[in-house]
């Protein structure tokens, strides 16, 4: 702690410099330079310092690397040593900096002095006063106090447990996503109240029953990373994901095949598949479930689910090849009245396929996922609050006032509690009802540790001085304990000492750390994560647990029921609530980066949309943006619709996370809270909140709202932006064969082939004879472009600094590995000081994304029932023959000797000609000067200029990182190594889809990947010579 005490100084470059805009307006008043009072040997102004910590934005607990400069955190990335993050982060993790620098954080301890209607009911308190007030309240309410906490693990968990015991406080842990059905099923079937670690990388076939494991489910970064390893094409093989759901989330959009089952029928379908798998395996693995499976009627299940029995047989055929498959589910996206049966059926499916011990095992548990109270238990707590049994309520994390349906009357329950204290650093709905606010440090300012899964200890350490006058929760608890004269085991003056003590006593021996603690501790801080026993999957697989008949008997394998829609006009459709990739359960809604990030599926920013099937929409006369009124028995909402081709016609879907009242300027009043449409229903078996419970009545209002989104199209409209290849062709290409028509897939080319078979060849290009005739008639022949990425720039440009010896920075993007999660976009915002334009400007198309994920539905009926979705990260292609460059009148756009398409902001006059002439439309313009409210501007990267109004900007391949690496290499008298330069998008990509490097070096990874037979360049027929090679998505994974 001590060593960061002196960081209260502003660095020379990071301070005023980064805030100045592009135009130099002269130096009045004089800029001041503040030196350190005492120098820090590890901090050199102008040089970044990295700290390893653990992301605490969701319970997954990804290891994190945070880059700081002059004492300010600038960029978060994954810790490559962490088995949870693999050096990757999701968009939420990237946006943790916006939590740190959120302008609406509670700046210091506050106490309520007025009613909720007062303009500013809060009075400032010193921490001394605040802690005393808390201690006094606890003394008054001893034995009748409840501490409602989020899901901590590790040392803080120990402290809070001990503290609660010492002070007579009851502790309730709650997380909105508590995975109750999965835990309950595991408890009933296997006697383990927990969630096993899923090893997607080993699974060749995955069946998903409503688990959004690429978005929020349990440990999304690790699962996304593993899923891509197992699923993406490599060495002639490709995995297969079946999504069995009524509505495709991002995860389901990545499926090879989507099976649109009726909502609630997942248990029947899963059991039917299990029966067929068990039959094939001769009953092995079925164990206690054998009688149950014997009674399953496949045809009846198929009929109930609204799918064909053949589909079930096909899935069963693919599934279960000796532990090389995996079934997962449900997540909140399939949490209906019989969700435990889904989880149980999934467990049976994994059991009969022999997956336990291989692709999942109870030897390693997701520690964080097995601890939360259930929703039903929370309801009981609310009942106690309502009856006045609780005198003091401490809240840290959960926000039931937002997350619970109105029927729970959380507000009424809270009103009955005489004293509520909140540790939240943000004024969310629940904290706003508190009497005392004790804002905790953001995790990037905190000491701590976290145990995400068995054997993994991840360190939380502060990367900078606190931004506000907040105080570490652990320190507050220790101090309050002292004030209350309570004795805690292993008490220490500060939480930092408590943590070190705990690590010295427990973690060092468990991790087998040798030597003095101080040295080991330093090493651990550098690694950020320590692995203890049981961290690795057991070699050769663990023993498969046996199914327990008693538990099995308790589960009713029936279809879930849904409340009927209220009477009235309009269509009745089942309302599916599902978690948000961007906002999780809503806790991330105050992050401007995430609000501005287009949703990976519907691409709407800053607002909620009701997703509806195009078939139903057509029947109701609805187009994207038409406003509907959604009525359930519990509430009503008015919002625009978005036609989602990947959903059943009998459902509508609404994302969680928006519809906050309060919670800062970025969240307040935006969108619809799905809980407002639901009743307080808990699943009987698991006590889980039932998200899929009601049928809604959907009625068009006849209005139209301009949605804040980038685009209105869903398909490529006949263009060849994304390209596919069949598995068979991919294999043949790998073998070095030339595949005719490998670029097939473009409707235009296909149509040309059909209509003019005598004039065009199989690829859709004109035949040689036609070309000859054209030329003989004086026409131009289409010129075949043969140059590859490494063949540019052409020799006729070599002059001065332009020479053959220069590298060409290039990228290869494997569309097989892109899951469309958009973490790259947020990473790019963080790295490159991209302005946040707000909903009105996004609606006008004035967003500033340098990298965007284009989502195109593919297939003959892409508008209504797509066969699959292609995600394409589109960023500046750094073309060799860049069309944007020669049109710039002032050389603001030009080509650098090292093959970059440069945009010199300070030279830019703003004619926008370059953007007009860019066929990829990756240039974005600063229509206004964008604002970063204090202290969000602290995050601005000093290595990148901030652009003012009137300047064109675009992806630079993170040129600041290139220059940094070049400088470093030059100082060390060497060249730049391959892999030394990683752009922000590539760094965070959970699928490792992006490879960057010098394509002129044949040994570089990028050159090798780009040479793949699947490689193509977008719009290369324009002869732009892009530096980015895309690898075609492999479709039709069935054996050809």
């Amino acid at each position: 702690m001590e060593r960061r005490d002196f960081l209260k100084v502003v660095g020379t470059a990071a301070g005023a410099g980064a805030l100045a805009s592009c135009s130099n307006t002269g130096g009045v008043p004089p800029e001041r330079m503040l030196p350190y009072v005492i120098g820090e040997p590890e901090i050199v102004p102008g040089i970044s310092t990295y700290y390893r910590t653990t992301c605490r934005e969701c319970p997954a607990g990804c290891g994190m690397d945070v880059r700081t400069r002059e004492g300010r955190a600038l960029k978060a990335d994954g810790n490559p040593l962490s088995p949870i993050s693999h050096g990757k982060l999701c968009a939420r993790g990237q946006a943790s900096l916006h939590g740190l620098y959120n302008p609406d954080r509670v700046p210091q301890a506050l106490v309520r002095q007025g009613g909720p209607k007062d303009a500013d009911p809060w009075k400032k308190l010193s921490w001394d006063q605040a802690e005393q007030q808390l201690a006094d309240a606890l003394a008054r309410g001893r034995g009748r106090a409840v501490f409602l906490t989020q899901n901590y693990t590790g040392t803080l968990d120990r402290l809070v447990t001990d503290w609660c015991a010492a002070l007579g406080v009851e502790r309730v842990i709650y997380d909105t996503f508590a995975w109750e059905p999965v835990r309950t099923a595991n408890r009933l079937l296997f006697g383990v109240d927990g969630v096993p670690v899923h090893d997607f990388a080993q699974a060749e076939v995955v069946l998903n029953f409503g688990a959004d494991f690429l978005e929020t489910w349990i440990s999304p970064v690790d699962y996304a990373h593993g899923f891509v390893q197992g699923n993406a094409y490599r060495a002639g093989k490709r995995g297969k994901l079946y999504a069995l759901s009524a509505h495709q989330t991002l995860t389901d959009l990545n499926a090879e095949e989507w099976v649109p089952v009726k909502p609630g029928t997942e248990p029947l379908v899963a059991l039917a598949i299990a029966r067929l798998v068990a039959e094939r395996a001769g009953g092995a693995g079925a164990g206690a479930a054998a009688p149950l499976l014997a009674g399953v009627n496949v045809d009846a299940a198929a009929a109930a689910a609204g799918i064909s029995p053949e589909k079930i047989r096909q899935i069963a055929q693919d599934f279960g090849n000796g532990g090389r498959s995996l079934a997962v589910g449900p997540g909140p996206a399939a949490q209906h009245r019989n969700a435990t049966a889904v989880a149980a059926a999934v467990a049976i499916l994994n059991s009969v396929a022999g997956n336990y011990g291989h692709t999942l095992s109870f030897a390693r548990l997701e520690e964080h996922a097995g601890r939360s109270a259930s929703y039903a238990q929370m309801q009981q707590l609310l009942g106690r609050l309502r009856s006045g049994q609780v005198q003091v309520l401490l809240v840290d994390g959960p926000n039931p006032l937002y997350a619970f349906p109105a029927q729970d009357d959380v507000a009424g329950a809270l009103a009955k509690v005489p004293f509520i204290a909140s540790f939240s650093s943000y004024l969310d709905e629940t904290s706003e009802r508190a009497h005392l606010l004790l804002p905790d440090h953001h995790f990037l300012e905190s000491w701590g540790d976290y145990v995400p899964r068995t054997g993994v200890r991840s360190i939380v350490q502060p990367v900078m001085m606190p931004v506000f006058d907040t105080k570490l929760k652990g320190d507050v608890l220790l101090s309050v304990a002292t004030r209350a004269k309570a004795t805690l085991p292993n008490a220490a003056p500060t939480f930092y000492d408590y943590l070190r003590g705990s690590w010295q006593r427990e973690v060092q021996p468990a991790a087998g750390g040798a030597g003095a603690f101080e040295a080991w501790w330093e090493e651990s801080l550098k690694a950020g994560v320590v692995l203890t026993a049981g961290a690795a999957a057991p070699a050769g697989g663990a023993a498969a647990p046996a199914l327990q008949a008693a538990g099995l008997a308790r589960i009713r394998f029936e279809a879930a029921s849904f409340d009927a829609a209220p009477a009235g006009s309009g269509e009745s459709l089942i309302l599916l609530a599902y978690p948000s990739y961007r906002f999780y359960d809503g806790r991330m809604a105050d992050r401007a980066w995430l609000q501005e990030l287009p949703d990976p599926v519907h691409k709407v920013t800053w607002d909620s949309v009701l997703e509806i099937s195009p078939v139903t929409a057509k029947r109701l006369g609805l187009d994207d943006g038409n406003v509907v009124e959604v009525t359930t028995s519990h509430g009503k909402a008015t919002l625009p619709v978005w036609r989602h081709p990947g959903m059943r016609p009998d459902v509508v879907a609404l994302q969680m996370g928006l519809g906050h009242r309060g919670f800062g300027r970025y969240a307040d009043g935006r969108g619809v809270n799905v809980a407002s449409l639901l009743g307080a229903v808990a699943e009987p078996e698991s006590g889980a909140m039932v998200w899929q419970q009601v049928t809604a009545r959907v009625k068009p209002t006849g209005e139209w709202a301009r949605m804040s989104m980038q685009n209105q199209v869903k398909t490529e409209s006949g263009r060849e932006i994304t390209r596919d290849i069949s598995l068979a062709d991919a294999r043949r290409l790998e073998a070095g064969a030339v595949v005719a028509g490998a670029s097939a897939g473009s409707p235009a080319r296909e149509s040309a082939r059909e209509r003019y078979p005598e004039h065009v060849d199989v690829t859709g290009n004109p035949k040689g004879k036609v070309v000859g005739e054209l030329q003989a008639a004086g026409g131009f022949a289409p010129e075949t472009v043969t140059a590859g990425p490494a063949d540019y720039p052409p020799p006729h440009t070599y002059y001065g600094e332009y020479s053959e010896a220069q590298p060409r920075w290039a990228m290869a993007i494997d569309m097989e590995r892109c899951i469309g999660c958009s973490a790259c976009t947020t990473a790019c915002y963080a790295e490159n000081n991209i302005g946040i334009v707000g909903p009105e400007q996004v609606a006008r198309g004035r967003h500033l994304q340098w990298i965007r994920i284009e989502r195109y539905f593919e297939g003959p009926e892409a508008e209504t029932a797509p066969t699959h979705v292609n995600f394409l990260p589109m960023l500046c292609q750094q073309c060799g023959n860049a069309p944007c460059e020669p049109v710039c009148p002032v050389y603001a756009a030009y080509h650098t000797p090292d093959g970059l398409n440069a945009q010199i902001y300070n030279r830019c006059v703003g004619t926008r000609y370059c953007a007009n002439n860019c066929p990829y439309k990756v240039r974005v313009f600063n229509w206004f000067t964008w604002q970063w409210p204090e202290p969000l501007n602290w995050q601005l990267n000093p290595d990148v200029g901030v652009r003012e109004k009137g300047v064109m900007e675009k992806c630079t391949f993170c040129v600041q990182r290139i220059r940094d690496a070049q400088n470093e290499a030059r100082l060390q008298g060497r060249g730049v190594h391959d892999g030394e330069i990683v752009p922000a998008c590539a760094q965070t990509c959970p699928g490792e889809a992006i490879v960057f490097g010098n394509v002129k070096d044949p040994n570089s990874r990028v050159a090798q990947v780009a040479a793949s037979g699947r490689g193509y360049r977008v719009l290369e027929e324009l002869n732009t010579q892009p530096a980015i090679t895309y690898l075609k998505r492999v479709v039709d994974a069935s054996e050809a």
Binding site: A748, C918, F925
Partner: protein, 469 residues
């Protein structure tokens, strides 16, 4: 009785002195209508600069432009005004070289229109850019940064083309006016006018050597201005044709734009001169014959642009490239969200002017006035359709968007008409709006021989041929 010889083109003008009297009387005190019009124009200018100032302070986003539609009404209006500017030089230079006898009475006003239209057009690139305070980066001049503009950029070509065009047409305008300024000087009474014309006329006396060099210089200027006038709109068209944008990168653009420019320019000349003729009583100078001649040229150019529209549609269809087909007005123009713009263009520019096949229409001043208004509107929407339609639907469907002009943009565009009108109205009162000297050239010279002879009325074909004494 002496022979009364009358000009064929201007049968109602009598002597050289009549010309001076009729033309120079325009410079006397203005009437009430003129003042109201000028006040309106100045109000437009104030609105223009207020809106522009706001746009500079807040950002070019005020224009209603958005990604990826980087060009909109400002560039549309720029091209529109550059197009308008073409008729002046066409009439004064090309028709001069062709010795067309109907140009004399209209060319001065047309030239003035050219100069002011270029002045108006020249505002728009500066209004349009994101950082107008750095627009000087486009000028090639030695600077401390040691960096030059990019001569490969069509926008730098534009700077050269429009800059040259302005310089040359302003020079041409002024040089041609020197003898008239001398005439105005000699008849001026108001002191400031006397002083102004004295200065501007450079001490012109009409001596034989002055005239000799003057006529040669004028001829060469006309010879230089002729390729220039054809090049300017070609270069402007290359702003589009040199790009990669579907619907823009077309080889037909240069002739298409030049024809369109002449078309719109003639329409604007008529729109302006028909009221002026009436208000100032210049029917003798600007006759139905003039209107008809211009109508014929308009018909020709209308056919050329209609042909270009067909070409565009045909090539887009023929390419079988989806980007080409959606990029032009073919799909999104004729049937899509910009249908009104595309159909307005076709109606005004291709359909309505077919009326000009009829002689009665060509000779009807009111009909011609209405038709020219149609053409003016149509030509603005032609540029709007070309620019906005293409940019809205390019190669990348993900970045398709729709454009709606903003209030700020519309104020600036309407204000630009005020700006143009202000200069034109001031010109009418300050400078001789019809060429005094050249009109005298088409009049038959006073001849002693005829005066002494028998009293017969002769109508020589024009007045330009030599008369041997």
């Amino acid at each position: 009785m002496a022979t009364v010889v009358r000009s064929e083109t201007h049968p109602d003008i009598g002597s050289y002195e009549d010309v001076n009297r009729d033309i120079l009387k325009l410079l006397s005190r203005p009437g009430r209508g003129y003042r109201i019009l000028l006040a309106l124009a100045i109000a437009g200018v104030i609105a223009l600069f207020t809106a522009w100032g706001l746009q500079i302070v807040l950002g070019i986003g005020m224009s209603g432009l958005r990604n990826p539609i980087g060009w909109g009404v400002y560039i549309t209006t720029f091209v529109f005004w550059v197009g308008i500017a073409h008729s002046g030089t066409l009439i004064s230079a090309i028709l001069y070289l062709f010795r067309a006898r109907w140009r004399q009475s209209i060319y001065r006003a047309a030239e003035a229109m050219t100069v002011f239209a270029v002045m108006t057009a020249g505002l728009f690139p500066v209004i349009h850019v994101g950082r107008p305070w750095l627009a000087y980066y486009l000028m090639p001049y030695p600077n401390q940064r040691m960096i030059w503009p990019n001569f490969r950029s069509p926008l730098v070509w534009d700077v050269f083309a429009v800059g040259t065009y302005f310089t040359v047409s302003a020079t041409f305008f002024y040089i041609g006016m020197i003898p008239d300024l001398a005439a105005a000087r000699d008849s001026a009474i108001v002191p400031w006018r006397k002083k102004l014309y004295s200065t501007l006329s450079l001490g012109w006396r009409g001596t034989n050597w002055e005239w000799k060099h003057f006529t040669r210089a004028y001829l060469y200027l006309a010879a230089l201005a002729t390729p220039l006038v054809l090049s300017v709109h070609s270069v402007v068209s290359w702003d589009f044709a040199m790009s990669l944008v579907p619907g823009w990168h077309s080889t037909v653009f240069a002739p298409y734009f030049v024809a369109g420019a002449i078309y719109s320019g003639l329409a604007m000349v008529l729109t302006l001169l028909i009221p002026i003729r009436k208000i100032f009583g210049l029917e003798a100078y600007f006759t139905t014959r003039h209107v008809e001649q211009m109508a014929k040229v308009m018909l020709l150019t209308s056919l050329i642009v209609s042909y270009a529209y067909l070409c565009e549609a045909f090539t887009a269809w023929y390419t079988f490239e989806p980007a080409e087909q959606t990029g032009g007005y073919l799909m999104f123009g004729a049937t899509g969200e910009y249908w009104w713009s595309a159909w307005l263009m076709l109606t005004c520019n291709a359909f309505v002017p077919q009326l000009l096949w009829f002689r009665q229409v060509r000779r009807s001043i009111p009909a011609m006035f209405v038709i020219t208004l149609f053409v003016n509107i149509g030509m603005w929407f032609e540029r709007y359709s070309i620019i906005v339609l293409s940019l809205s639907h390019e190669y990348e469907p993900w970045m398709w968007n729709q454009y709606r002009p903003s209030l700020t943009g519309m104020i600036i565009i309407l204000g630009s008409f005020g700006w143009f009108l202000m200069w034109f109205l001031l010109f009418l009162r300050v400078l001789p709006a019809v060429s005094v000297a050249e009109l005298k050239e088409v009049l038959p010279p006073p001849l002693r021989r005829l005066r002494a002879g028998p009293a017969t009325l002769r109508r020589p074909r024009g007045g330009a041929e030599e008369v041997r004494p």
